[in-house]
Symmetry: C2
Amino acid sequence: MGAVKLINIKEEILAENKELAGEIRESLAAARVCLVNLMSSPGSGKTSLILKSLERLKDDHRISVIEGDIDSMVDAEAVAAQGVEAVQIKTGGFCHLNAAMVEKGLSQVDLTNLDLVFLENVGNLVCPAECDTGANLNVAILSVPEGDDKPLKYPLIFRTCDALVVNKVDCLDYFDFDREALVRRFRRLNEVAPLFEISCKTGQGIEEWCDWLENRLSVDR
Amino acid sequence: MGAVKLINIKEEILAENKELAGEIRESLAAARVCLVNLMSSPGSGKTSLILKSLERLKDDHRISVIEGDIDSMVDAEAVAAQGVEAVQIKTGGFCHLNAAMVEKGLSQVDLTNLDLVFLENVGNLVCPAECDTGANLNVAILSVPEGDDKPLKYPLIFRTCDALVVNKVDCLDYFDFDREALVRRFRRLNEVAPLFEISCKTGQGIEEWCDWLENRLSVDR
């Protein structure tokens, strides 16, 4: 009998991606830049969080934004309207950003002239969590209208994130969202990542989130 | 020079899936069962829509529900609590349901004794839209808190759905959601699918949605 050769496509792709992601982190370290990967469902507030964070941080830090979307430029345009450089990656159907796409995005900015790059991933609570983008910090956003049961259904992203941002807390009274249940479910998966309760609409919690991010900038760079 | 052989993994997988999906539709037609595939972001209200639809339809039609989740049984348990048979598929990380998973799910129900099967896909606005499950009707759900710009960013699911359900319209006043912009953006992608504005919380629009579904049951079976 001849030998059987197994080609495990997914594992090979992920291994290649991991290697490239490591190279991206080396480049970031050399340039002393922190790359923050924001992941969430569609409409949870990734762009809103970036815009709110820019307001608070852009005078003290040199920041660029890389926007990942299947289609459209609307998010990059919103960032540019704040006077901040934005790169739009159109994935053309691809459901998450991988290291190769992020490398292309980073090639469009001048890392030597930056402190912080926000990376807005494709709106998807599943696939982005599996794929290393080369980021230094991975942040998950959950919004109140999505419900407190999401850690039960999409455990990976909650298990692997470096911070969880719970957005739209201004409408906690309106939705049947059990904050304590959410925290309990999150803590079962992740004991260390901080949890920020924020509202991009009212500004609640933005200060604490930005303080943490500034602190991590000085640690991770 | 020797020949170059190209193996396009994604196309091959999708072609095999399409074939199996066709076989599923043949079995459904033979048994006169309509399979309705519900797709949306996490937390848009797929389970809630199923539960509301069961209340209205379960006395007049024989219904089962197949729940697809990466992890957890909570949705299937909620369906079973209504006295309706539920099959839970745990995808174990997989980001959408494919025809092979649906075939396994359907093998757990008695098609000869059913009129309608609801299939709840994994919460994901991207990947489920690419993968034929064998369903007769593909329904997309968008909830108001996600925003009116989603057709710009995730065009495929809006382009290919047989109906769009806009859920959580009870909180239209609370969110900055432009209904006319949503309709305009949807219609640019899809001229024919009906759009239902509903609230699973208040019951608004459930009657119209169920009437349409009942009508399609008699057409599609």
